[in-house]
C-alpha cells in the first residue's frame, strides 16, 4: 500500500483532485476551508494500491491553527510515500510558498497544476517543462472538477512511487550564509538523536524550529536531546534576529518568497492581466526581455561615471599626501639604496594603489546600495537568462557572480555543483569574470586614456566582455570537452526594499579597510621586489655612480643660474635612473617578452617603454593589483608629481606623457589584463578543486592564448576602423 498526501493552499481545488483520484463525492466549495480535517480514500493506480489522504488547506507548514497543524503533522510523518502538491495555476506564486517548505521534506513530490484552464483564460502561459525541472518533480496540468489531466496525474504518481520518474531530484531553498550557518549548528544538535534525525529530514526540522512551529516543537519535545536542541534553537533565533534585524519567521519567509518569485519569473512565459503587485510591475520593467539589459547597462555606466567624478576629489587629496611623503623622504633620507627603495619603490608603488581606494569604496558602496534595494538580484536574473542560451546556467551562475569580487572563492563555490561536468566548466570559465583586483587596473588605465563617461563605458564593456567570454567558453567547452546536460536552478528575487544607509557605509568601510590592508602586505611586498628587480644590478654599479658624480660636479662648476642648474641636475638624475632601469633584471626580462607582446601593445614598434608593460603583467600573475604598483615603480611615476593642477594621479600623468600608449593600445592592455593567466591564488584554487595539473595548466594556457588573441583583435580591428 502506497500512501499519498494531497497538500495545497486553501481553495486550490484539492478536494476536486481527491474526488477525481478516488471516485469519492465529497463536497466541493469555492471557498477556503472545505477540508478541515484529513480524510482518506482508496484508488488503484496500475498495479499499485494507493491510499489518498486529503489534508486541510494550509499556506505554511509552520501554521498555528488546528486544521493547518493537522496538515503539517501528517506531511512530516514518515509514513507518507508521495506528496501531491496541488497548485492553483492562476495564483501560482502564492501557492509555491508552501511548495518551498514541502521541498525541504525531501519526499517525492508530484505537482498538480490545478485550474490550468482559469490560468489560460487569464492569459498566463506556464512553461511546464521548466517548472518541472526547477521543482525537481513532474508537473501535471489538471482541471479537477472536469477530471482533466487526472489519468496523467495518476501515471506520474505511479512513476514517482516506483522510482522511475526521471525529473525527481532534491531541491532546496538557499537561506543565505547567516541562516545556513545556524541551520548547520541546529542540524548538528538534532543529529544527536539518531531516531529523530532518521524519521524526518533534520534540515526541515531545524527550519521549523527557527520559525517556532508548534508541530516541530512537539516532535522535539519527545526527543532525549530536546534540551540541547531547544537551547541551540533559542541561541540561533536570538543571534539571527539580532544580526539580521527581523524575526526568524519573516527572514525565512522572505527567502522563500524570493525563491517562489524567481521560480515564477523563470517558468511563466506570459503573465495574465490580474492584479499585479508593485514588485511585479517594477520587475516587469527591470527584468523585461528586451529592456532589462539596456537598463542594467545604463545603471552601471551611471554608477561607474559617478564614482569616477566624485572619487576624483579624495583621489587628488591622497595623491597630494603621497607627493608630500615622497618629497619628505627624498629630502631627509640620505642618498643610497634605502632612499631609492623608499622614493622609487615603496612610496610610488603603494601610493599608486592607495589613491584608488576612495574610487573602489564609492563603487562598492553604490553596488551595496543596489544590492540592498533588491535590484542586483534582478540584474543577476537577466544575466542568468542570457546564460540559459549558452548552456551555462543554474548553479554555475552563483560562482560567476562571486567572481566579480574575487575568483578564488568563486572557484571554491563550484563545490555546490553536483555534476562534475558543470563544475569543471564553471571552474574553467570563472577566471574570465573580471574581479575587483582587475578593476584597479581598469580604473588606472581607462581614467588615463579616456574621459570619465567613456572610461565608465569602457569598464562596463570589459565586465560584459568577461561575462560574455565566460558564456561563450562555457558553450564551447560543453560542445567539446564536457558534453552533457546541466541541472536547472531557481534565481531568487527578493522584494524591493529601501536600503539602510548604515549597512551601505559598513560595506564601503569593509572594502576600503581590506584594500588598505592589502596595500600594507601584498602590494608593499610586491613593490619592494619590483624595485629590486628594476634597479639591480645598475644601482650598485660603482662606475656609473662615479660617472654621475663627476657629471654633477661639472654642472655645479659651471655656476649656472639656479633654475638652469636645477634643470640640468634633474635631467642628469633622470638619465642615470633610466640607465639603471634599462639595464635591470626586470628590463632584461621585459625585453625578452617584448616580441610576444609587441603585436598587441606596441604594433608600430614606436614604444621604447613597452617592455615595462610586460614586467607589470608578469607581476600581475602573483596578484592582479600588483600590476598598478609595478607600473608606478617601473615608470618612475614620481617624476610627474609636480604637475600643477593635474587632474590625474602621478602615475596616470606619467603614463599619458611617457608610456607611448594610445587609447587603443590602452584598451588592448585592459582586455589582456581581463583575460590572461589567472592570479596565483586562483591557479592554486583551481588545482585544489580539480586535483589535476593538466586542467590547471589548461586554464593558464587558454587564458593566456585567448587574452593575446582578443587583445590583438582589439588593436587591429580598432586600427581598421580608424582608431588611433
Amino acid at each position: 500500500m502506497v500512501t499519498i498526501a494531497l497538500a495545497g493552499n486553501p481553495n486550490c481545488g484539492k478536494t476536486s483532485i481527491f474526488n477525481a483520484l478516488t471516485g469519492a463525492r465529497h463536497h466541493v466549495g469555492n471557498w477556503p476551508g472545505v477540508t478541515v480535517e484529513r480524510r482518506s480514500g482508496h484508488s488503484d493506480m496500475g498495479n499499485l494500491e494507493v491510499e489518498v489522504v486529503d489534508l486541510p488547506g494550509t499556506y505554511s507548514l509552520a501554521a498555528q491553527s488546528e486544521d493547518e497543524r493537522i496538515a503539517a503533522r501528517f506531511l512530516s510523518d514518515p509514513s507518507v510515500d508521495v506528496i501531491v502538491n496541488v497548485l492553483d495555476a492562476s495564483n501560482l506564486e502564492r501557492n509555491l510558498y508552501l511548495s518551498t517548505q514541502l521541498l525541504e521534506l525531501h519526499r517525492p513530490i508530484v505537482y498538480a497544476l490545478n485550474m490550468a484552464d482559469d490560468a489560460e483564460r487569464q492569459g498566463t502561459r506556464i512553461d511546464l517543462k521548466a517548472l518541472s525541472a526547477l521543482l525537481g518533480g513532474p508537473v501535471i496540468p489538471t482541471v479537477g472538477n472536469r477530471q482533466e489531466g487526472i489519468q496523467q496525474l495518476k501515471d506520474a504518481i505511479v512513476r514517482v512511487a516506483t522510482g522511475v520518474e526521471p525529473t525527481i531530484r532534491p531541491v532546496s531553498v538557499s537561506y543565505g550564509d547567516d541562516i545556513e550557518r545556524e541551520l548547520v549548528k541546529l542540524v548538528g544538535e538534532i543529529g544527536r538523536d539518531e531516531h529523530l534525525a532518521s524519521e524526518r529530514p533534520p534540515r526541515w526540522l531545524a527550519l521549523q524550529l527557527l520559525e517556532a512551529a508548534p508541530e516541530a516543537e512537539a516532535i522535539v519535545d519527545q526527543s532525549h536531546a530536546r534540551a540541547a536542541i531547544r537551547a541551540q534553537s533559542q541561541t540561533s533565533v536570538a543571534f539571527l534576529e539580532q544580526h539580521l534585524g527581523a524575526d526568524c519567521g519573516t527572514l525565512l519567509a522572505e527567502r522563500r518568497y524570493g525563491f517562489a518569485h524567481g521560480l515564477v519569473k523563470e517558468a511563466i512565459q506570459e503573465m495574465g492581466t490580474g492584479q499585479r503587485s508593485f514588485t511585479d510591475k517594477l520587475d516587469g520593467l527591470l527584468t523585461h526581455r528586451w529592456l532589462g539589459i539596456p537598463i542594467f547597462i545604463a545603471i552601471m555606466i551611471g554608477v561607474y561615471a559617478l564614482t569616477f567624478i566624485v572619487g576624483k576629489y579624495p583621489q587628488d587629496w591622497i595623491a597630494a599626501g603621497f607627493a608630500h611623503l615622497h618629497d619628505w623622504a627624498a629630502a631627509h633620507v640620505p642618498p643610497g639604496e634605502l632612499a631609492s627603495l623608499l622614493v622609487d619603490g615603496i612610496i610610488p608603488g603603494v601610493g599608486a594603489v592607495v589613491v584608488f581606494v576612495p574610487v573602489i569604496m564609492l563603487l562598492m558602496g553604490c553596488i551595496a546600495f543596489l544590492e540592498d534595494t533588491g535590484y542586483m538580484s534582478r540584474a543577476a536574473f537577466i544575466m542568468d537568462r542570457l546564460m540559459h542560451l549558452m548552456g551555462l546556467h543554474g548553479k554555475s551562475f552563483i560562482p560567476l557572480i562571486m567572481g566579480t569580487g574575487c575568483n578564488v572563492p568563486a572557484v571554491q563555490a563550484t563545490r555546490t555543483i553536483e555534476s562534475r561536468t558543470d563544475r569543471f566548466i564553471t571552474i574553467l570559465v570563472c577566471p574570465l569574470v573580471s574581479c575587483s583586483a582587475r578593476l584597479q587596473v581598469y580604473i588606472l588605465i581607462a581614467g588615463t586614456f579616456f574621459p570619465p563617461v567613456q572610461a565608465a563605458f569602457a569598464i562596463m564593456a570589459l565586465h560584459f566582455l568577461g561575462f560574455g567570454l565566460a558564456m561563450l567558453m562555457g558553450k564551447v567547452l560543453r560542445l567539446t570537452l564536457f558534453r552533457g546536460e546541466n541541472a536547472p536552478f531557481v534565481m531568487e528575487l527578493p522584494p524591493y526594499r529601501l536600503p539602510v544607509l548604515k549597512s551601505t557605509l559598513i560595506h564601503m568601510w569593509e572594502k576600503g579597510r581590506v584594500f588598505l590592508s592589502r596595500a600594507g602586505t601584498v602590494i608593499l611586498a610586491g613593490a619592494t621586489l619590483v624595485w629590486f628587480l628594476s634597479h639591480y644590478p645598475g644601482i650598485s654599479n660603482r662606475q656609473w655612480a662615479v660617472e654621475r658624480q663627476q657629471k654633477e660636479e661639472a654642472i655645479r662648476a659651471q655656476k649656472l643660474p639656479t633654475i638652469q642648474e636645477t634643470e640640468q641636475l634633474e635631467a642628469l638624475q633622470l638619465a642615470h635612473e633610466s640607465r639603471v632601469m634599462n639595464s635591470s633584471l626586470a628590463a632584461r626580462f621585459g625585453k625578452l617578452l617584448q616580441p610576444a607582446l609587441a603585436p598587441i601593445l606596441d604594433p608600430d614598434h614606436k614604444r621604447p617603454e613597452a617592455w615595462k608593460d610586460g614586467v607589470a603583467l608578469t607581476a600581475g600573475f602573483v596578484a592582479k593589483e600588483i600590476v598598478v604598483g609595478t607600473m608606478a615603480v617601473v615608470h618612475q611615476a614620481r617624476a610627474e608629481k609636480a604637475e600643477a593642477g593635474a587632474s590625474l594621479s602621478p602615475l596616470q600623468e606619467t603614463l599619458k606623457r611617457h608610456s607611448g600608449m594610445t587609447p587603443l593600445t590602452a584598451l588592448a592592455f585592459m582586455v589582456f589584463t581581463l583575460i590572461y593567466t589567472p592570479c596565483l591564488g586562483t591557479v592554486g584554487m583551481i588545482l585544489k578543486e580539480t586535483r589535476s595539473w593538466a586542467w590547471t595548466s589548461f586554464s593558464i594556457a587558454y587564458g593566456l592564448g585567448l587574452g593575446w588573441l582578443l587583445a590583438f583583435a582589439t588593436v587591429h580591428v580598432g586600427r581598421l576602423l580608424g582608431f588611433a
Binding site: 550564509d177 569580487g405 621586489l529 596565483l680
Partner: protein
Amino acid sequence: MTLQTWIALFAVTLAALYLAKGFLGSFRGTGSCASGCGSCGAKACPAKKLEERLRRA
C-alpha cells in the same frame, strides 16, 4: 656594502619570503588567496565561510 644596502636587501628578502609564502600557500590552500576580492583576511571572506560550512556539513 653600506648599511643602506644591507637594509634594502634585507627588506627585499623579507618581501620575497612573504610572497613565496603566499605562493606556496596558494597551492596548499592555506595561504592568503592573493587576489583582492575585498574580503580576504576578513571574517566575511566568502571562501572561508564556504570552507567552514562544508567542514561542518
